[in-house]
């Protein structure tokens, strides 16, 4: 009611004006994914930080990283991926024992309801094996990520040079 009085009197305090615009910005952006994310087929899964490592033109392998948020009310399983750019794609986990690192292949990764999983250097990655063509910096590459319940989801990945990962370190 106080607000109506302010409007009637024509002297609206600055805090109310700022609050109004803040609320407006929030409402306009509400429900939109992050700028580099993409919601796929209204699946309830949101993918962000989707990138593939640029390797040499002669390389047969690369790695893909992403964050997936399961915004549905049920747990799901990420079962793996396919793409035209690679013969095989495997889910790998890095294992560190003191100073020695190695990789272990996983069959699936659980993505719990209203939770997220991050594939990131030194942790989980997708290993692209048998590249059918060189991956160039800036390329957009589509991977099909397969989930047990959500099914196959098309996700675009951008090719980045490894040092770009540390840009915001």
């Amino acid at each position: 009611m106080q607000i109506i009085n302010y409007i009637k009197s024509g002297s609206v305090p600055i805090t109310i004006i700022i609050s109004f615009f803040a609320a407006l910005v929030f409402t306009v952006n509400c429900g939109k994914p992050a700028s580099d994310g993409e919601s796929t087929n209204n699946s309830g899964f949101v993918f962000t930080d989707t990138w593939i490592t640029k390797v040499s033109d002669t390389s047969e392998i690369s790695a893909a990283y992403f964050k997936v948020e399961n915004e549905t009310e049920s747990d799901d399983l990420f079962l793996g991926a396919t793409s035209k750019v690679a013969e095989f794609i495997e889910i790998h986990e890095m294992l560190q024992d003191k100073d020695v690192t190695g990789m272990r292949m996983l069959d699936q990764v659980e993505v719990k309801a209203n939770n997220s999983i991050q594939f990131t250097p030194g942790g989980l990655h997708l290993m692209l094996i048998g590249l059918t063509s060189p991956v160039k910096k800036g390329d957009s590459i589509t991977l099909i990520l397969n989930f047990k319940k959500a099914g196959p989801l098309k996700v675009n990945f951008t090719v980045k040079a490894p040092h770009e990962y540390y840009e915001e370190d």
Partner: protein, 199 residues
Amino acid sequence: MHIKKIIIVSILFSTLFTIACKPKSVAFDILPIGGDFTLVDQNNEPFTLSSLKGNIVLLFFGYTHCPDACPMTMGLLGKAYDELGDDAKSIKTVFITVDPERDNIENMQGYIEGFSETFPGFKPIGLIGTDDQIDEVIKLFAGMRMKRTGVSKSGYTMDHNTSVFVMDSKQQVRYLYKPADRLNKLVSILEAMLAAEEN
């Protein structure tokens, strides 16, 4: 009177911050590992480590079929060069394969070329050798390598050390940098070592 106090306290803080920001001339202990060796570089030329005496050297082990740790370490070192600017000119990066079975001149050359944007003007040295030669070098640095079969359709993967061996201009190993540590830690270590070299 109040303004005077503020000015004095500000000057004191500025002095403290300046001291804190300067690279510390920390004397890193000499680690009892390392030594000279000869392998073959990506240009098919013999390479002897002692030829880099006078330079700070960043040496690490990996292989060209490694999708995660190796390219990301390259990226980390390249970014450190970028942060150091001209000061990085005297720092050399050496990448030694732990996979002599698959790594040859051709793919090592391609691999190093692939990082030309990561290291603008600073080409890393990629080294290959026979099984025995590689094992000898790994032994010098108290490291290990192990082939794991049946874990990937890529044929096999290699377990290997991930530390970057930071060597001074006399080729004494002074620091084992873990790539999981932050970039600014590596940059400050290198700044401190460069400052120590100057003195």
